[in-house]
């Protein structure tokens, strides 16, 4: 626990890190308490003219169907956050497992894992994702598994690269010479030393996955209407942008502030942990 506190302290040592943490924290908190905060039901329609501008009753106006934009914005990040947090967790766990394994064992197993990674990287993942959604639906579980799988592929490469740097260190050799089992070496000697890279990586991946999820929703594959979602809201109201900017602007501000927050946090994290972001594998 104490190390979590130290890390947080390191991240918030810079101004941009502070801003990042506050933004992310604010969004997480909001996602948790929004259902008790919102003034209306998310699908309640008001029988007035649609696209009404901001008023005392509806601070951010109404959308095409006469629904309260503020309510929908407050609720619109919940599924995205749920899916991407678990998706990122899944990606990092399986990705680092295979990455560390490949990096430590080397030889045939490394070859096998890395060539499989190459194959998956060659598949246009967006199209594959649409295929999965088309066949299995877009329940959060399906989204978590598919996004988690695809984003883990990059983690494999990155974890392997980080492991290769650690594996040649004398303390790993010392453990081998002592007669430690491979699993124990990977867990106690290698993993703690690639942890920093993995943490920075997960933060970056989280923001990318969030964008990807919103893009899917925007295309109409992410969440099913009438569930509120930022990507979907932008998609539905964008043709009326000139007429009524609010229904588009609100989710846009929400989504960008969250992404900016995550990126600022990731940058501050990288800096405070001394992880050089330029050495990370792309993808």
């Amino acid at each position: 626990m104490s190390s979590a506190v130290t890390i947080l302290k390191g991240v918030t040592a810079t101004r941009s890190g502070k801003i990042g943490v506050v933004l992310v924290g604010f969004h997480l908190l909001l996602a948790l308490v929004a259902p008790w905060l919102v003034p209306y039901e998310f699908d309640a329609q008001t029988a007035v003219i649609d696209h009404a501008g901001p008023s005392l009753a509806h601070w951010a106006g109404l959308d095409t169907l006469g629904r309260d934009v503020l309510t929908r914005t407050l609720l619109g990040g919940r599924e995205a956050l749920l899916v991407t947090i678990f998706g990122t967790g899944l990606a990092v766990v399986w990705g680092s497992f295979f990455g560390v394994l490949a990096g430590y064992l080397g030889g045939r197993i490394d070859e096998l894992i890395m060539r499989s990674v190459d194959i998956f990287l060659a598949i246009p993942w967006m199209i594959f994702l649409l295929l999965v959604i088309a066949s299995f639906g877009n329940a959060p579980m399906v989204m978590i598994l598919t996004l988690g799988f695809f984003y883990g592929i990059g983690v494999v490469r990155m974890a392997r690269a980080a492991t290769l740097e650690v594996v040649v260190k004398d303390y790993v050799l010392a453990a081998k010479a002592r007669g430690e089992r491979p699993l124990s070496i990977m867990m106690t000697e290698i993993l703690p030393n690639v942890r920093d890279v993995l943490m920075v990586e997960s933060a970056m991946r989280w923001s990318w996955m969030l964008l990807a999820f919103s893009a899917l929703s925007f295309l109409g594959f992410g969440v099913t209407p009438p569930t509120p979602d930022w990507g979907l809201m932008i998609a539905n109201s964008r043709i009326y942008l000139a007429l009524a900017p609010w229904p588009v602007l609100m989710p846009m501000i929400a989504l960008s502030s969250l992404i900016i927050g995550i990126n600022l946090t990731a940058d501050a994290l990288a800096k405070s942990l001394g992880v050089d972001k330029t050495t990370r594998a792309l993808v």
Binding site: D170, Y171, A177, R178, E189, P192
Partner: protein, 603 residues
């Protein structure tokens, strides 16, 4: 007297740390250098010698800057001149030769292209004259076959040749002042001797002034007439070479000289207690920087910083000069001959050959074999014996060690421990019992301790692995181990990053001891340490042997260290044993030409 070539007045280098306190890397340094004079700066790692050297060129490492004081080269301050002037100064007036010349050369360009570039920048020669000048320079630095050299790539040159190319480049602008930063560190001893002789010759022939930075006072004394000893950012003693070497005054200089292992000495090198504090930990220390380690320290030393006092041709910064000159405070221990070693053989290595890789597919098709790194090596280690394995880089000495430890496969031969345990195979094939009996200590303590584990966890691991102990007993065992290597028990909770180099190496030794081994394999374990710390580690090893009768196989390139520590020695060259026998005999009366050459290169 003519104006000095280089003069430095009250120079302090550092940065502003927490609470706006200045952190000094270099503190109040004064020195002058006349044309043609050679000055050596000696000090342990972290004493600020490299920062001082770079400041002479007007260069500061990232985050550092000049805090106060002035530098004048030829009347100009390199920190104040325009970038163009500085550029001219750096190539023409003074030139730097860095430690790793091989890395400073561009790997993808032929030597010729790189030499021409230097000439274009730093000389007024017409392009037509470049080739001839290159050849002349190469002859000057005694590179064999200059014409061919020009057409090679850096990786096709040996380390010594690369260093000579770097010297040739430095000479291209006909500098008045050469700045050298450990230019021979990392070279083999026999190569080092040649480079040092060359530098000496150049200074004499061309009347070039030189500032030479090194941790090794013996190297410095080969080349430099003046020697300055640096400690914790300050020059504590400076004077002519002969005075300083034969009659050191400052307690640190005396300690430093006493801690160097030398051939044919009846006494053990005498360690200096403790280690130098790193700059950030020196804090606002107002007294003498050496007070924490000095056996003569008084309250006055801790309260006020000593000023430079002239003594004959030199000056010394110390409050207790009279007491220091009386000597008496360093009493090196007598070297003890190994207690009766007995004739119980612990390890036997028979006909060992090692090669790195298996033949590739293409090689096996052609019936070729990759060359062996080690060929038909045989030797034995008695119980309680310390055996030295010496040789230059590429001699296979570390490879043999790794094979005994099971980290490197062998091609043929047999390794047995106590006549029963077979150590020929890799680690995976060995039973835990025989793994326990052989432990390995690495060269670089920074890399051999997991930075994410506390010292307590590091020491507990082998105990868990090899012995079935209750928790309470385990804790006691960890305490006992720390005590054994002279570290306080409170270190249990620290991480390796919080320890100094020597302390880390002690932990690494304690980790090996935890297994109650019969044989400890030591891979250059003192070569990354400062000499004053090395002496303490050597003493610790001797004590451990005396206490527990453990045997050591000690790999080193330093013959003096081997002679100090070992009972017998094997001299390796190109993977073959050239000479073997008792230390006393081999060093006194070397038979093989290679051993003789090695001994002749010891400074």
């Amino acid at each position: 007297m003519t104006a000095p070539l280089l003069s430095i007045e009250n120079l302090s280098i550092g940065f502003t740390g927490l609470n706006d306190q200045p952190v000094f890397i270099v503190r109040d340094v004064n020195l002058t250098l006349a044309a043609g004079e050679t000055l050596g700066l000696v000090g342990e790692s972290g004493c600020g010698k490299s920062s001082l050297l770079l400041a002479m060129m007007g260069y500061y490492k990232q985050g550092l800057g000049r805090l106060r004081g002035g530098i004048a080269y030829d009347g100009q301050d390199p920190g104040l001149v325009s970038p163009q002037q500085l550029q001219a100064l750096r190539g023409g007036g003074m030139a730097l030769i860095p430690q790793n010349a091989g890395q400073a050369l561009t790997p993808t360009l032929r030597i010729k292209a790189q030499m021409v570039e230097v000439l274009r920048l730093h000389s007024d020669l017409a392009p037509g004259a470049w080739q001839a000048r290159c050849l002349a320079l190469f002859e000057r630095v005694k590179l064999p076959d200059p014409e061919q050299m020009l057409n090679r790539y850096p990786h096709e040159l040996s380390g010594g040749q690369q260093q000579r190319v770097a010297i040739a480049m430095a000479l291209a602008g006909e500098p008045d002042l050469l700045l050298l930063d450990e230019p021979t560190t990392g070279l083999d001893v026999t190569t080092q001797v040649g480079v040092l002789a060359l530098l000496q010759e150049i200074c004499q022939d061309l009347n070039t002034a030189m500032v030479y930075v090194s941790h090794d006072i013996q190297v410095i004394s080969q080349v430099c007439n003046q020697i300055a000893i640096m400690y914790a950012g300050e020059i504590v003693e400076m004077g002519p070479r002969a005075d300083l070497l034969t009659q050191p005054v400052h307690p640190y200089t005396q300690g430093l000289l006493a801690s160097i292992p030398r051939l044919n000495q009846q006494t053990l090198p005498h360690p200096i207690a403790g280690e130098m504090l790193q700059p950030v930990h020196r804090g606002s220390n107002v007294g003498c920087g050496y007070a924490g380690r000095c056996p003569l320290a008084t309250d006055q030393c801790r309260a006020t910083a000593p000023l430079a006092q002239p003594i004959a041709d030199r000056w010394v910064k110390c409050h207790e000069v009279t007491a220091a000159m009386a000597g008496e405070f360093i009493r090196p221990a007598q070297k003890l001959l190994a207690a009766n070693l007995g004739d119980r053989e612990l390890l036997s290595v028979a006909d060992l050959s090692i090669r790195y890789q298996a033949p590739t597919w293409l090689q096996s098709l052609r019936g070729q074999q990759p060359p062996a790194i080690v060929r038909a090596v045989s030797f034995g280690i008695q119980k309680g014996e310390i055996v030295g394995l010496v040789g230059e880089s590429g001699s296979g000495k570390s490879t043999i060690l790794k094979t005994i430890a099971g980290l490197q496969g062998s091609l043929s031969g047999r390794i047995t421990l106590s006549g029963t345990d077979d150590l020929t195979g890799p680690v995976e094939s060995r039973p835990r019992g025989s793994l326990r009996k052989v432990q390995l200590v690495f060269q670089n303590p920074d890399a051999s301790l997991n930075p994410r584990k506390t010292i307590g966890e590091i020491l507990r691991r082998p105990l868990e692995l090899y012995f079935d102990l209750a928790t309470g007993v385990m804790d006691q065992a960890v305490d006992a181990l720390l005590q054994r290597v002279n570290l306080p028990e409170s270190y249990k909770g620290r991480f390796p990053g919080q320890l100094s180099g020597g302390e880390k190496q002690r932990v690494a030794i304690a980790r090996a001891l935890a297994a109650k081994p019969e044989l400890i394999l030591c891979d250059e374990i003192t070569s990354a340490l400062d000499v004053s710390v090395q002496a303490a580690i050597l003493k610790l090893l001797l004590d451990l042997r005396a206490d527990s009768g453990v045997s050591l196989l000690f790999v080193s390139h330093d013959l003096a260290v081997v002679e100090t520590l070992c009972d017998s020695v094997l001299v390796l060259e190109g993977g073959e044993v050239r000479e073997a026998g008792l230390c006393a005999e081999v060093f006194k009366n070397p038979q093989h030409a290679y051993t003789q050459a090695l001994l002749a290169s010891v400074l």
